[in-house]
């Protein structure tokens, strides 16, 4: 770290863009909603979180920024989401954590609720946002995800028709005038993000490897493809000794050159750093950039998806001195 002047600073990423997505915490959804999932399913009661993979990506960007700060090489961090809107609490969290700019790529759909005014409840969640990764189109793709100790979620996608059609004909999720356009269409999501990323021209693009809902992990690949950049899958990424290193899931460190796309898992960083209430309150004046330009939003096509839910029953038994065996035999637990 002696090179305080030229080369090091030049080689350090100066601009990092992180794609993120706010998702409903699907583990919290009711069994009946999993079973009857449709465009109209009301998930308003489920809390929203930044997708955990994206949280890692966001934190990695901030760590690189911290590192740059230490050697006098300022790094500009942009958090970018393609979404109908972004709740103020999320943008303030990102600003308080250290992001210089937060961008919301939207087609200008209703924003009032998220930016201060009242909003209607019962909104369609699958329209909410995109930026991590979505379900890949294609017949019969199935993803089994163990979400927690006592419940599991099973997500399946089926026939989507022509994914290039505008208006989303034939898709459950685009049925209402395309209101839910990019809920599950990874290619469209990536295309729109890539359009904006081309304008930003960051040295480094970070994404979460997948999103919590209907994961396919395809968005980072599509982004790289659209931008013609190399993509690295990594558990974490850092600038060290003047070189940019990504560490793979098996611990190998690879030196890469910018610009590139790095898609990270959720193991490398513990999640986005927390900010104190004072830091959050200090962001009162900061607002996200809402990019409404229609060019980001050619209508997408969502695959039909089918959700299923299965719950593992929990047993509670008294362990008597007589032993577990008797208890199990009696069936009275």
């Amino acid at each position: 770290m002696d090179d305080k002047g030229g080369t090091l600073k030049k080689r350090f990423a100066r601009k990092i863009a992180v794609c993120f997505k706010v998702v409903p915490d699907f583990v919290q959804a009711l069994a009946e909603d999993w079973e009857n999932f449709s465009e109209n399913t009301d998930l308003a009661y489920v809390k929203r979180v930044i997708n955990c993979f994206d949280e890692s990506a966001l934190e990695i960007a901030l760590r690189i920024k911290d590192g740059g700060g230490k050697i006098g090489a300022p790094v500009f961090c942009i958090a970018l989401t393609a979404a109908d809107a972004l709740k103020t609490s999320f943008s303030r969290t990102l600003f308080a954590a250290g992001f210089d700019r937060v961008e919301v790529l939207t087609d200008g759909a209703e924003l009032s609720g998220y930016t201060g005014g009242l909003r209607t409840y019962g909104f369609r969640d699958n329209a909410a946002s995109a930026g991590g990764a979505d379900l890949q189109e294609g017949d019969g793709l199935r993803t089994d995800t163990e979400l927690s100790g006592n419940c599991g979620v099973n997500i399946a996608a089926s026939g989507v028709g022509d994914n290039a059609v505008s208006g989303g004909a034939g898709s459950d999720f685009a049925a209402n005038g395309g209101a839910s356009r990019f809920g599950f269409d990874s290619m469209r999501t990536a295309e729109k993000l890539a359009e904006r990323l081309r304008e930003i021209a960051p040295d480094l693009i970070l994404t979460g490897r997948q999103a919590g809902c209907a994961d396919s992990g395809a968005v980072p690949f599509y982004i790289a493809e659209f931008l013609g950049l190399p993509l690295f899958e990594a558990s974490t990424a850092a600038f060290s000794g003047g070189v940019f290193l990504v560490e793979t899931d098996v611990g190998a460190k690879i030196e890469v050159s910018a610009p590139c796309v790095v898609s990270v898992g959720n193991g490398g960083a513990e999640g986005l750093r927390i900010s104190t209430l004072k830091e959050v309150l200090a962001t009162a004046e900061k607002t996200p950039e809402i990019l409404r330009a229609a060019k980001y939003f050619a209508a997408a096509n969502n695959p039909k998806i089918k959700f299923a839910y299965f719950k593992k029953e929990k047993k509670c038994a008294v362990m008597t001195v007589g032993g577990l065996t008797d208890l199990l035999k009696s069936g009275d637990f």
Partner: protein, 477 residues
């Protein structure tokens, strides 16, 4: 007494297997879930005092013999059952004995005629509830710690459940009990629907937090279990004070839905995804009992709430809460907050309707000013009465993972504000978790002139002061 002699004597009473000196067992049985201890443990620090051993009696006579022995040698003892304490209530004295009631478990008698069940102190509440549900009954007692807590601790802390507006707290549910006094005497307070024969002795033990004796058995009320009759509805209502006024009107008119929860706008957004408009609270209601009564309560409260300008959010937020209300128990030992560099916890107080809103506002205004590392503070009301309600504050503060020794100070700086603002306005500093050791210093102010009576009770029942030192009593005279 020398440690080896102490162990040998105790083994002589409860047998070889009834005494453990294994450090892991001692540490496990000393574990308290107060926020700063969770943070310390996350950093690998076990700073609670170290007991000499854990004694696990199998029955009331063994409890009696153990206490007689400890009392005669003035050896400090801390009772324990489920270990879900969040107040430092189960932390032992250095070199003292942990008296673990968990091995005394099971249902002794179900009396369907008299609508009560008699259970041993170490019976897990979740087991009891499942046992009763299968037979068409319920305890009506659903603390969030349902998967952890056991009957002895539930009585000893004066616990309360989420359906309390209908069923009341454990003090209302206890029909009779058996306890062992610190000198080893066994007493039984007989089961009775009600009687007028002097002060109600049950209430000396309910809420005594192990300072006056060891509860070995309890007879609890049971109720017909008919979840299919439930009426449920969620509403959003603007502003916490307006929400509290609505709850007051509901209870003043005599409506008793089992569940009455008013989450402030911060919790509404943080924990429920903001189904309500910004700045609105989330109100969750559930009435149960016979179908006609549940429906009538629903109709009645709906009418009242409309006067307060509520927005009907349907049933899903209530169903969601019902399904996930105890999830936190599974994560307690995962040090989730420590890994984020945060201390998180809750603190519950109560006050009359006339003061509760001001206490809530004062705490939310003062804590960010006085606790620099505060990450969030919010609250909800979850137990309502005709005279007032509780506020359950939920808070988080950032702490340095490499300096776990600072966690306690940060934590107590939040608690201090809550205690001071509550006392200033005539509220009570603990609604249902008990005093434990961390709230003891505010007990003189909490009890005022009646505090002396507590000491007289303590000195009469536990003159050697062996039982759960540091809890409720600032010192023992």
């Amino acid at each position: 007494m020398e440690k080896t002699k102490l162990i040998a004597e105790l083994k002589g009473i409860v047998g070889e297997n009834g005494v453990s000196t294994d450090e892991r067992v001692i540490s496990d049985c000393s574990k308290d879930y107060i926020g700063f201890r969770q943070f310390e443990r996350g950093a690998g620090k076990h700073w609670e005092p170290k007991a000499a051993c854990v004694v696990s009696p199998q029955n009331t006579s063994e409890v009696s013999a153990v206490l007689r022995f400890l009392n005669s040698h003035k050896i400090p003892a801390v009772p324990r059952t489920g270990g879900s304490s969040v107040t430092l209530g189960v932390e032992p004295q250095e070199g003292g004995v942990i008296l673990n009631g968990s091995k005394m478990s099971g249902v002794a008698a179900l009396n369907e005629t008299d609508m009560c069940v008699t259970v041993c102190a170490g019976t897990p509440l979740e087991y009891l509830e499942n046992y009763l549900n299968k037979r068409g009954y319920t305890t009506g007692h659903f603390p969030q710690s349902l998967p952890l807590a056991q009957v002895g601790g539930l009585l000893a802390t004066r616990s309360i459940g989420q359906f309390s507006t209908l069923y009341g707290g454990i003090e209302d549910l206890t029909v009779g009990l058996e306890a062992v006094l610190p000198d080893g005497e066994i007493i039984r307070i007989k089961n009775s629907p009600r009687r007028s024969v002097g002060p109600d002795l049950r209430q000396i033990f309910v809420g005594s937090e192990g300072t006056l004796g060891f509860i070995t058995e309890a007879t609890l009320k049971i109720f017909r279990y008919a979840p299919e009759n439930r009426w449920m509805r969620a509403y959003s209502i603007q502003g916490m004070k307006n929400g509290l006024a609505a709850l007051r009107e509901m209870t003043a008119q005599g409506f008793r839905p089992a569940v009455v929860r008013l989450h402030d706008p911060i919790e509404t957004e943080r924990d429920f995804g903001a189904p309500a408009p910004q700045g609105y609270c989330l109100l969750l209601l559930l009435a149960e009992g016979p179908k006609t009564i549940a429906a009538a309560i629903g109709e009645g409260v709906d009418g009242i709430l409309k006067e307060f300008g509520v927005v009907d959010l349907g049933v899903k937020p209530v169903l969601h809460w019902l399904e996930h209300r105890n999830d936190v128990c599974a994560d307690l030992d995962k040090y989730k907050y420590y890994r984020l560099g945060a201390i998180a916890d809750t603190c519950e107080i109560s006050a009359p309707w006339s003061e509760i809103g001001d206490i809530y506002e004062a705490v939310l205004e003062r804590t960010p000013r006085e606790v620099p590392s505060l990450v969030s503070i919010a609250g909800h009301s979850s137990h309502s009465y005709a005279q007032g309600t509780n506020i359950y504050f939920t808070f988080g503060a950032a702490a340095d993972k490499d300096k776990p020794e600072t966690a306690r100070g940060i934590y107590m700086s939040v608690i201090r504000v809550i205690m001071e603002e509550t006392l200033k306005r005539g509220g009570s500093i603990a609604h249902h978790h008990g005093s434990g050791k961390y709230r003891t210093r505010w007990m003189p102010e909490e009890h005022g002139s009646s505090y002396g009576v507590m000491y007289r009770l303590k000195n009469a029942l536990d003159p050697n002061g062996i039982m759960n030192k540091g809890v409720i009593f600032t010192d023992v005279k």
